[in-house]
Amino acid sequence: MDSLANTVQQVFNEPACGKNLGKSDKERKKGCTQALQPGAAAGGCAFDGAKIALQPITDVAHLVHGPIACEGNSWDNRGAKSSGPLLYRTGFTTDINGTDVVFGGEKRLFRAIREILAKYDPPAVFVYQTCVPALIGDDIEALCKAASAKFGRPVIPINAPGFVGSKNLGNKLAGEALLEHVIGTEEPEYTTPYDINIIGEYNLAGELWQVKPLLAELRIRVLACISGDARYREIASAHRARAAMMVCSKAMINVARKMEERYGIPFFEGSFYGVSDMSEALREIARLLVARGAPPDLEARTETLIAREEARAWSRLAAYRPRLEGKRVLLITGGVKSWSVVAALQEVGIEIVGTSVKKSTKEDRERIKKIMGDEAHMIEDMAPRDIYKLLKDARADMMLSGGRSQFVALKAKVPWLDINQERHHAYAGYDGMVALVHEIEKALYNPVWAQVRRPAPWDAEVAS
């Protein structure tokens, strides 16, 4: 078995993954990627997932080794924000041609790395493997090793070619690459008893910045966010954190668990979405830090902050309640955020008429069940046609989903809000929840709905 196959197997065996606990050995081997149906599949590849997970590292050059398809068709399409370096937004690709396919692309890749170092001088180059060079046998692991030695700069292989599996697997393979090649290779300038890692947070639309000030107020330092608004050095020295929070369900569970195993960094799984989830996350961070020796007053200080922020958030949210109470929302999203958003919306009296659980783990489902009371609202896998019909029949007042399905709602002339990664608003933290509710209200009450639903004069004549 080659090293990539090995890593994939390892990731599938992830012991901390709730889904895995209920599986037999054989089932586990098959992994969490359901067999894809040709002609009825949607979703990104492992390379896509790896890029999502790592591109938020802002000062690194992200070099995609492959034909123009992988980078040329997709670059600059995500909203991870940076507070400093912008190199991560530059699209680098070896853009291999027919000759490379015949003779191998390694030479071009090596030269590309050299060019990038000469022109852009990044602290590290991340090299992403894709399908075609993987198929012809370009060995990026060996090549990156040679390039690191030759140029004296970290050149990190991210071995997650698209065809090995889904986006989710790509997230995890990206995490493996960090564990293998980056984390623990540098030391922080200094440490504090308040140092934490946040794992699986990508700072989309600047969400991290709605959380960081609160942490700063508690003197908690984010030693490394993996990987939102991160610098290479921060990730490299992340092993010195005292505790970690894992965000976004199971996408990077392997990173959190292995860092606990290797460096004794305890972690918990939490969410920044929703008022009570946010408070719970702060509490848990404080608890873990104190358990690891931070001054015990941290917990009291955290409670004070939570009380203040919750009061503020609740009073701001209460203002929306009269206009949102009883509104029926359909929530179609990757399972990861379902339950936390559900709770948040219920806080203002919104009724969830259904939520998709296709990608949710067993744990997620349990949580949704707890929050929503019954299972009837859980939608396993709804075809766009059925969603359209549901909306057209006015069985929901609004849909929240990812960008791809937005037109199902808009063409049914039903308000829609983006809650996936291409969104433009930050919904994390206390302010984020208010922002989300504000956006929902804005969408629901836009006078445009009355306009666009007007029958055309010729249709009205027929009707009357």
């Binding site: 894809l36 149906q37 040709p38 002609g39 009825a40 599949a41 949607a42 979703g43 990104g44 590849c45 492992a46 390379f47 896509d48 492959g66 034909p67 123009i68 398809a69 992988c70 980078e71 040329g72 068709n73 997709s74 670059w75 399409n77 530059t90 699209g91 680098f92 690709t93 070896t94 853009d95 291999i96 041609n97 027919g98 000759t99 490379d100 396919v101 071009r108 090596f110 030269r111 590309a112 990038i116 399908c131 075609v132 993987a134 198929l135 012809i136 698209g162 065809f163 090995v164 599996g165 766009p384 046609r385 019909k389 960008g403 791809r404 037109f407 063409k411 002339k413 291409e422 666009v452």
Partner: protein, 477 residues
Amino acid sequence: MNAPKRVSATGPGAAKACTVNPLRMSQPLGAALAFLGIDRSMPVFHGSQGCTAFGLVLFVRHFRESIPLQTTAMNEVTTILGGGENIEKAILNIHKRAKPAFIGIASTGLTETKGDDVAGDLRRITAAHPELDMPIVYVSTPDYEGAFQDGWAKAVKGIVESLARPAATIRGQVNILPGCHVTPGDIVELREIVADFGLHPIVLPDLSGSLDGHVPKDFSPTSLGGTRVADIERAGASEATIAIGEHMRPAAHALTDKTGVPAKVFDTLTGLEAADDLFAWLSALSGRPVPEKYRRQRSQLVDAMLDAHFFFGAKRVAIGAEPDLLWALGAWLKEMGCTLAAAVTTTDSPVLAYLAAEGARIGDLEDLEAQAHGCDLLISHSHGRQAAERLGVPFLRMGLPIFDRLGAAHRVIVGYRGTRDLVFEVGNVFLAHGHESLQSGAPAGADEPLRASGFEGSRACADARHDHDSATEAYWP
């Protein structure tokens, strides 16, 4: 193997190994878009699912529409064993779920590297499944060759070759083969023009039927409109074929070879002269004089050019675009008195020779940026925004993808009226970034002699600094 030529900005003849900030997109995407111009169609990539996901996101962001696009969902094992079975499953699944009237399959880098015999697989599949009643067109579009425009051209050629048939000529029927740079809005304009000469156009592919942004009566898992298969089959009965853009020449000639319908290639329809050519040709074909409406439009265009030329003269413009869009814009800007500071494109084309004096080259946005310092305008698809911001120069979004502005599908730059509006749009960008304060109170054009006498250069520099923040956002309200 026709590997694209690589010419770089880093030194004469020195090919660079790394593409930085790609201008180019891959062939299968272009093919998929062409397939999307067929009525009730379903394009499919023969490859791994990720390629489809990226293509889908790209089109969704540009058109702001649902995009039907499927995949044969190849993985490592099926790739090595061969993809016939996956193609079969994909077709059967699509037939069952979406009932399309047309399926277009484009290969990808992955399946081309393995060397699947898709044509052979398709013969086997259609023989085994007589229930598959829709045409299936396959094109070979490896990601590692050519560009978006080539994929589009190959797909249209493939459609023509497999579906068009010779037939007795129907008087007044004409075929229009638009290039991939022709927007749904352009197609609507052209259809109207052609119809006003009493002619009946068949547009292939017709994105104005599928991706013009409208609200359909019901949900559809396939394209929402476009060229009907029956119309493609009738294309052989047309009196003539109009191809728009050099890259449509092979498809037009393939149609001639197959059906005998003569072809006329218009390299561009933007600009006074180009529009004159079109109207003269239509008049000759139809035997009708140019309608009064268009005489008036021509006069308006001439007037717009008179009013606007002050602001275009000696302006330096940098363009990065697919070859035929580059040519349409570049040729027109030159006619308006601009010079091309840089002309970067994606793939080999006769256009490279047309713009040889301007140093047109195949390259990326890094190359374009390197040559665009101090220019008065940078034009490219939305990905040029970072370069424009860094350079502090005004930025005009043209081409595909345009994901950070509305209405990309409805931009019209063909004919007299389209060119007139383009004159205003670009002229306004120059105006907005010129000395507006100087002009207030002065008669129109009063400051022009200043510009003509060498004031230009220093002004451009000052603007580059001054406009750093607002530069890229100042127009397109």
